[in-house]
């Protein structure tokens, strides 16, 4: 402990250089936090579990899914496969709406399908029972900060939030209401965007897709996809961002290494006198290396904690002002324990390498050579 006290005293006495080194490290480590969090958010977004038992039917070749149009009659070829291959088929309405200033996915389904077909599970509050009631997904809440009991205005009509639900994929950031409410709200009847198909266990989904695609009543008018295919398409757009972020993460950590290398090299050059004194009074080159490493690690730990706090504040501020959205689905960017731990280990490792590289010759150099250098 006394040794560390000595090193801290030395850092204080070398105030400007210590401050500049820590400031440099804060910049690089903050970059690491931002990029690693973004990469992790992208990775989590694109790696949610797939459910091959769920298919969806939409209009042929639509670009914007809200342009898809399916009527009750179009469900008929699918219903004919019940109960052998298909367990159920349900209508789903999808609208992209500006609700209270937020651009959200509004989904409408039969209340009985919320849990059984769309796998929503209630985290807080109750399911909607009456008119003008909705539930919101976790993503929507993290974006809007709405709570159960709040009243929000959708398409000119007040709705009460009765519950908070957990869901996966594109449904994570949705707002859900009953089909009846939606039909009344938008003044449309028998017009949906999706037919949501649940297959019986063990049924080959590709066979069903093939069968429905070749049905003359549907062929050329509708496309059948895996239910999470849409989500996969959204997430594939994130792959490049994720990959670039990972490369930049590595560069940020390498910058930590080269920053430490530079400051250690300067220390060796400019503080030759002190190092020579230490050698002459009996400090081995190995001990001096340990002293320089501990000195650097103290700076890195300080910079790491400061960067963590700064990045937390920055992400929080950024999320509250302009959250990152992928097709109306919020992309939650957080500094996870994993990012924190891996970053700490790698920062210290790279910093240690940054000390090791310029000091590796110390073991062979004589004290007189340090005086003469």
């Amino acid at each position: 402990m006394e040794g560390i006290r000595f090193i801290i005293r030395d850092l204080q006495s070398d105030g400007w250089r210590s401050a500049i080194t820590i400031f440099n490290l804060i910049i690089f480590i903050s970059c690491y936090f931002c990029l690693a969090s973004l990469a992790e958010a992208g990775y989590k977004f694109g790696n949610q579990t797939r459910d091959p038992d769920e298919l969806m039917m939409i209009s042929h070749n639509v670009f914007d899914l809200t342009d898809s149009q399916i009527t009750e009659n179009d469900f008929e070829p699918i219903r004919e496969l019940i109960p052998i291959q298909v367990k159920s088929v349900s209508p789903l309405m999808l609208k992209h709406l500006n609700v209270e200033g937020y651009f959200l996915q509004v989904r409408a389904a039969q209340l009985t399908d919320f849990e059984t077909v769309h796998n929503l599970s209630l985290l807080e509050g109750t399911w909607p029972t009456g008119t003008n009631e909705v539930v919101i997904g976790e993503g929507t809440r993290s974006l809007t900060k709405w709570n159960v009991g709040n009243v929000i205005r959708i398409y000119g009509v007040d709705f009460k939030i009765t519950g908070l639900v957990h869901s996966t994929g594109t449904k994570f950031g949705s707002l859900w209401m009953s089909l009846e409410n939606a039909e009344k709200l938008f003044n449309i009847k028998d017009q949906f965007q999706f037919a949501w198909i649940i297959l019986n266990p063990g049924v080959n989904p590709d066979e069903v897709i093939n069968q429905l695609t070749n049905d003359s009543r549907l062929a050329g008018k509708f496309d059948i996809y895996y239910a999470d295919q849409l989500y996969q398409q959204y997430s594939s757009a994130l792959n490049d961002v994720r990959d670039i972020s990972l490369v930049l993460v590595l560069l940020a950590l390498l910058s930590v290494m080269f920053g430490v290398y530079g400051s250690t090299y300067l220390t060796l050059t400019e503080r030759k006198r002190e190092l020579t004194i230490l050698r002459s009074v009996g400090f081995t080159s190995r001990t001096i290396r340990v002293v320089l490493s501990v000195r650097t690690i103290i700076q890195v730990v300080f910079a790491y904690l400061a960067s963590w706090v700064i990045t937390l504040i920055a992400i929080h501020g950024f999320e509250s002002v302009s959250p990152i959205m992928i097709h109306s689905i919020p992309l939650p960017v957080i500094i996870s324990a994993q990012v924190l731990l891996i970053g700490a280990i790698l920062s210290i490792l790279f910093a240690w390498i940054g000390v090791w590289l310029p000091t590796r010759h110390l073991q062979k150099s004589s004290v007189i050579s340090m005086i003469q250098r």
Partner: protein, 220 residues
């Protein structure tokens, strides 16, 4: 204690080969107070650096008891210095960021002496050299003579058998020179520490057990 035989040290200065030490033979016994005098550039500092393992000889032998310094690795020389030798330099060579006690503690830290014991020992030695009232002063707050006393305290705190002093009074006025000279002789007589002092100042030769004159790298 120290046997030096046929010691040579040459180095290059541009295209020129300089023979700094030329075939020196020397024996120093335990408890000696040896003073090496001679003109600047005569090889005094080089000789001390070689005896202290700070520099490597070109050829010859420096035996410390049974231990041969010539040819030893840097790491072994450092450990040897730590365990057997104290250094006093002309310009004190104290760390500016540390106070007197902390500067004196350094050799004990290198020997991994527990900090509490090291501090107690440092305070004791600083008191011995007359600096009990300057324990927490930094070098910038001390006079030249006081700084040299701190440097002497640092050189003896780890109880070395040998102290090498290179122009220890070179930067001091006559009063401080006398004080430092007396202090080194006192430590030599009371603690039995062997001193080898390189100096221009003949005052230091007054109580020396042996005096050598080094000129052009050779003992006259």
């Amino acid at each position: 204690m120290i046997n030096i035989s046929d010691l040579h040290k040459t180095y290059r200065r541009g295209d020129e080969v300089v023979e700094a030490i030329r075939g020196i033979n020397l024996q120093v016994n335990e408890g000696d107070f040896v003073v090496v005098i001679g003109p600047s550039g005569g090889g005094k500092s080089t000789l001390l650096n070689l005896i202290g393992g700070i520099d490597h000889p070109t050829s010859g032998s420096i035996r410390y008891g049974d231990y041969e310094l010539a040819g030893a690795s840097e790491e072994k020389l450092t450990i040897f210095r730590r365990d057997h030798i104290g250094f006093v330099f002309q310009f004190y060579n104290l760390l500016f960021s540390l106070n007197a006690v902390e500067n004196v503690v350094l050799p004990l830290m290198a020997k991994r002496v527990p900090m509490k014991a090291a501090r107690e020992k440092a305070i004791k030695v600083l008191t011995q050299v007359g600096l009990s009232h300057r324990l927490t002063h930094r070098p910038s707050e001390l006079s030249g003579g006081e700084q040299q006393r701190v440097a002497i305290a640092r050189s003896i705190v780890a109880e070395p058998e040998l102290v090498l002093a290179d122009e220890p009074t070179g930067d001091l006025d006559s009063v401080a020179t006398r004080e430092i000279s007396d202090l080194m002789h006192q430590l030599n007589q009371q603690m039995g520490i062997t001193f080898i002092v390189a100096t221009h100042n003949l005052l230091l030769t007054e109580k020396a057990t042996r005096v050598y004159e080094l000129r052009d790298g050779a003992i006259q």
